[in-house]
Symmetry: C2
Subunit: 239 residues, 2 copies
DNA sequence: GAGTGGTCTAGACCACACG
DNA sequence: GTGTGGTCTAGACCACTCA
């Protein structure tokens, strides 16, 4: 016989979908559900884990479990549109936090993309993007300290990459090798994105190059898959 | 205290990464691992689930659990490149199975994309794409039966969409609204893709329109995220 | 301190593969 | 039949939040 956790899962799913359990509302505790459905707590937890991985619940240790309707953001990709404008055009308030900035020896991936020797000093800047206050992305970028000595401090102060490029004489740049894939998040990524560790993220890897083809910046952005969909403005191949 | 399943997870991970557990090799049974690490079976299973969700293991009920190194395919998207050529250019053998073809009332999403009344009859064709024999995608497509009466049978016989379009006088078409996002797979999707249900998939939704902008086909392709990365040929916006 | 979710053990039975 | 993984119950203790 199949899965008794499915029964719980589907029951709660129905209540959330129908609105009987409203957004932000607290759902019954694990013990209460276990008694109500006459099953073990393990099965309740399994049902909750599935719902959380679907992005419907926010589980908070010590406080309870809450219905969390996810914003569904359509993020245009492939144009010259920037983070700010992209969100504003959908009526969302863009935001961001500075998480970390440091100088480290270039990791293999970044070194290769930037054409540097592995271990060369690079700025590593980590920022969190928000839409209407909800975390949606983690942007991790790498830039050579030789090329952009002051980048770390200036990004920390809130300057954009484009501005910093311009002050170093780079008036135009383009993207090379934009790569997109999905995976499960690391623990720290899930925490910073305030999402369940079983809910996937999308990773967007890209390299900026000058008009002449010189690589100047490499970045890896991690997007919450439950909150963001990408809209490609360049069409796509068929399967 | 922390997580004892992490210890097991990391130990096996190391053995797989270092090659001490080779591709295709069977790993110790749950009972054996539970005894070896001196933990409960639950913790062993949790470690296995994590490794399987990372795409490193193939768990087969009744047979055992095996190391499964995943192919990592870079699939170009955004150009005119087709499935066949895309894989061939990477030295992979393209393949595919016909799964199902039927005529159904148009579901809401497809009806809207095609500009049909909800419930109009459409062909629904499901195919599975393979690279070197490994399933990598499920392509679900919708076409009006009025516009393409013979499409179901012809696709089942192996004809391509482009060929069928051409025989109906459509010599050129383009993509509108390519949308890309990630989620966890449904049970049947995981089964058809032969992947773990906790490993994410990427969904690519797109609509074909004629040069005049008339929508003629809508499709939703589900890609195994553990096996495929997308390469966008049109750059990307920054985070 | 009481209540919540997080982790763990122990033990049972079921479903499936294979000899 | 034997052994594998899949599901489930029961019960314990820990970590965190909040009054």
């Amino acid at each position: 016989m199949g899965a008794s956790w499915r029964v719980i899962h589907d029951s709660l799913l129905g209540q959330i979908a129908s609105g009987r359990l409203a957004d932000g509302e607290r759902i019954p505790t694990e013990v209460e559900l276990k008694d109500r459905f006459g099953v073990g707590r393990h099965s309740v937890r399994r049902a909750m884990a599935a719902l959380a991985a679907e992005g419907l619940l926010s589980v908070e240790q010590g406080r309870g479990t809450f219905v969390r309707r996810q914003p569904s953001i359509l993020y245009r990709i492939g144009s010259r549109t920037r983070f700010r404008e992209n969100l504003l055009s959908q009526g969302l308030k863009p935001g961001g936090d500075h998480i970390a900035a440091e100088v480290i020896p270039a990791p293999p991936g970044a070194a290769e993309a930037l054409g540097l020797a592995e271990g060369s000093a690079v700025h590593r800047v980590l920022r969190r993007g928000r839409a209407d206050g909800v975390p949606i992305s983690l942007g991790l970028s790498f830039h050579s300290t030789l090329r952009f000595p002051d980048l770390g401090a200036r990004r920390e102060a809130g300057e954009s990459v484009t501005e910093i490029y311009r002050s170093h004489g780079i008036t135009d740049y383009r993207r090379r090798d934009t790569e997109l894939f999905a995976r499960l998040p690391e623990g720290w990524e899930a925490r910073l994105l305030e999402q369940h560790p079983d809910q996937p993220v999308m990773v967007q890897r890209k390299t900026d190059v000058t008009r002449e083809g010189e690589p100047i910046g490499h970045s890896e952005a991690v997007w919450s898959a439950g909150r963001v969909r990408f809209s490609l403005e360049c069409g796509g191949a068929d399967a």
